[in-house]
């Protein structure tokens, strides 16, 4: 295929590109968050199978085992008591939080570059996600 001519001169963007460090940090955030969450979830599933030999596929389809761990207090006390279900909840929380942490790291780099508009945009995105987790979800539960 012949590619179209892309040799048009760039229209002199006034904004500097993000530093390579930003890409590396965000790559690390995504990988570390994903690895941590999958590690917790994988270990949790194995532990759940060992601790609940009588559980069946139909039983897990009809009841959510983490219903008691969806508040901060419930999750904290569950983790303190070593509950497998609480650790599974933690794994899900880390998985959900991973892209949010990436947005937070983006906020840092945009702030460091003095890009007020992008700082405001990323700040609003973070606040909206927190509103979803802390306000909307518990309200509609």
């Amino acid at each position: 295929m012949s590619a179209p001519d892309r040799s048009v001169a760039p229209s002199s963007p006034t904004v500097k590109p993000l530093p390579p460090e930003a890409y590396l940090r965000m790559t690390f955030v995504l990988r570390a968050g994903l690895g941590l969450s999958l590690g917790i979830l994988g270990a949790g599933i194995v532990a759940y199978l060992l601790l609940h030999p009588g559980a069946s596929s139909s039983s897990v389809l009809t009841a959510n085992p983490i219903a008691g761990y969806l508040s901060f207090g419930g999750l904290a006390s569950g983790l303190a008591s070593g509950s497998v279900e609480a650790f599974l909840t933690l794994g899900l929380v880390v998985l959900v939080a991973t892209p949010v942490v990436r947005v937070v790291s983006g906020l840092y780099y945009f702030r460091r570059a003095g890009e007020r508009t992008m700082v405001a945009i990323t700040g609003v995105v973070i606040v909206l996600i927190l509103v979803g987790v802390l306000v909307i979800g518990p309200y509609v539960r």
């Binding site: 995504l30 969450s37 949790g44 899900l92 991973t98 979800g137 509609v140």
Partner: protein, 291 residues
């Protein structure tokens, strides 16, 4: 279709979930759609999951796909972080509204209607996907004032074409509108709605195909985090189902992302769309109470 939900023991059930999720992860990563479009209908049709639990698991699928492939794409500079973050201002409110609507519809015992709507949304992906331009690099367009002001432009090296490519975003206002709709669909049905995001990136912002696909893949994680936050705290994410799906999807997405940089990805979608069509029909029939 074979119903496996009652007959098999939990370990086999989890093993099957992992296998299905690996396939979904590969497909979602290669197409930029996320794995939810495969996982959600299969959970409902094959495994007998309820629709809110399937949707909650769909969010987990998206999060795993986006984090796994997002990392590779960010490292390879195929994901445009600035453009992705700029457009998230539209997708996140859409996702919050969509997820909240799904919870309300579930509480109102309108799950059959939700199933039909999910099937219709899956069908909408097909013309949306076919409407993508079959050109790797679009002819350059002048950037609009907002794009110029915010620096919505970039460069990358296209391995398949073996050339350096410069791109600049155009028509940001309609792109934001489409992104809000994509967020709404994503939040309501737990799918990545990547096809709509990619359309906005290709058709309106006029970005190259690979940048559109990779930036969409990067964005859907944040959109999904908004929807998943609502569904998780509302009690509609079951970890016994979601954990094996997350593990399988992440592995599949990693495999897919290793392949993408060397591919011309215009043919990938055609292999995948008939599967979506069959699943969409099955979901609609279930919603209508038909065998």
């Amino acid at each position: 279709m074979v119903r496996l939900s009652v007959a098999v023991d939990l370990a086999l059930f989890i093993g099957l979930l992992v296998l299905v999720a690996i396939a979904a992860g590969v497909v979602g990563s290669l197409t930029g759609l996320g794995g939810g479009v495969v996982v959600i209908p299969l959970l409902i049709v094959l495994f007998g999951a309820s629709i809110p639990i399937a949707i909650g698991t769909g969010f987990v699928t998206i999060l795993a796909t986006s984090s796994a492939t997002g990392a590779a794409y960010v490292r390879d500079r195929l994901s445009d972080l600035r453009i992705g973050m700029f457009l998230e201002i539209a997708t996140v409110p859409g996702a919050l509204i969509g997820a909240t609507a799904t919870v309300f519809l579930t509480h109102a015992n309108l799950q059959s209607e939700l199933l039909v709507a999910l099937g219709v949304a899956l069908f909408a992906i097909i013309p949306g996907s076919l409407a993508r331009r079959n050109i790797e690099l679009p002819p350059p367009l002048p950037p609009d004032a907002r794009s110029r002001r915010m620096g919505l432009s970039g460069d990358y090296h296209d391995n398949a074409l073996d050339q350096d490519v410069h791109y600049e975003g155009a028509r940001t206002s309609p792109a934001l509108g489409v992104m809000f709709g994509a967020g709404l669909v994503s939040g309501m049905f737990g799918i990545g709605a990547g096809v709509f995001k990619v359309l906005a990136l290709e058709r309106f912002l006029n970005l190259p195909m690979k940048i559109s696909t990779a930036t969409s893949n990067f964005m859907i994680g944040v959109t999904a985090a908004a929807g998943a936050g609502v569904m998780l705290s509302a009690g509609y994410v079951n970890p016994i189902i979601a954990a094996p799906v997350a593990i399988g999807t992440a592995f599949g997405a990693y495999l897919g992302s290793r392949v993408l940089p060397g591919l011309r990805n215009r043919t990938i979608r055609l292999m995948f769309l008939p599967v979506v069509a069959v699943l969409a029909i099955e979901v609609i029939l279930r919603g209508l109470g038909l065998p």
